[in-house]
Symmetry: C2
Subunit: 187 residues, 2 copies
């Protein structure tokens, strides 16, 4: 995390102590970081692996709303900020290594550390921009246009997601996605 | 803005100087704060009035994606953060009074002010939570459920938006919204 902070948050940061304690975890694919209904009390920095964020709707259908790759912070952030029970679950798709900060420690550091506040601000800006992009995709693109854009930008999602998961991410039925893919191959 | 900061950002802030310069503007309904294609270089604090955020899709259809009420910061924040041309326009729905900070001044204060970073962090957290709520509404609610929720929480949107605008906000055709309203009145 120290390298990441030096490169992305404050280039004057030079291996001194972080303003909060961190702990490491290594674990296996399938590990659940945050369960639905639990209040999130940690923020994780992903060092190795891929994690997926699932949302259950009122009918119990699973929707995939996000993925995180190494060198990013992740957690059930709405639950972390609001102290409400999480309505998403976060699950490791691969074996992983993370470094985490507890909410207590982070909030203490927010009281007096400019670096902690900079980190919180910049990481929240990144998460905000991701959500704005998702909103625009929903409002202005059909699922087909959204899928073609994933191809155009060579999204890593295409290489490791099954058709079924990709459909859940695009918010459409797997058969609709298969139809879009067949049409794309013909053209 | 000082009162707001004392109450919402840092209660030890006590009428000392803000870490950045601010300027006031008063103006009339219809004023455009940020045009599509322009890079946003200010953040506004809304003291009086209501503003609306419009997104144009590739076919030129207008979608309403957000509203802001007094005691909130607003701007074309993706454009502000990325320095990309704005793909939204922000327009005053009423006469208004705002206090603004230039991007230059804000970023200078981010270098050395804990208060500026706290403000940036907490306001971005609020915007993030708003976007997460929007995403969940799109993924888990039908337009009808979304509309019924606006009624349930007695959203101020219902009192000042025309049916046409409300439909643009819900992402549906005005006739579909009229159908939903007729159904609601009957039940």
């Amino acid at each position: 995390m120290k390298n990441y902070i030096k490169q992305n948050i404050d280039n004057s940061f030079d291996d001194q102590e972080l303003p909060f304690a961190t702990e490491n975890i290594v674990g296996h694919a399938g590990t659940v970081f945050c369960k639905i209904g639990k209040v999130e009390d940690k923020i994780y920095f992903l060092k190795k692996g891929i994690v997926q964020v699932n949302l259950l709707n009122s009918k119990g259908d699973e929707r995939i709303i996000d993925f995180f790759f190494p060198n990013n912070f992740f957690c059930s952030y709405s639950s972390f900020l609001n102290s409400n029970p999480s309505d998403v679950e976060i699950i490791a798709l691969t074996d992983f290594e993370v470094e985490f900060i507890t909410k207590d420690n982070l909030y203490k550091s927010y009281n007096n550390s400019i670096l902690a506040n900079k980190l919180g601000r910049i990481e929240t800006e990144k998460l905000y921009l991701k959500k704005v992009k998702r909103e625009k995709d929903f409002l202005t693109k059909t699922a087909e246009e959204h899928y073609l854009e994933l191809i155009r930008v060579q999204s890593p999602l295409l290489t490791f997601l099954s058709i079924d998961k990709l459909a859940k991410y695009l918010g459409i039925h797997p058969e609709s996605l298969s139809r879009i893919r067949r049409k794309k191959i013909k053209n």
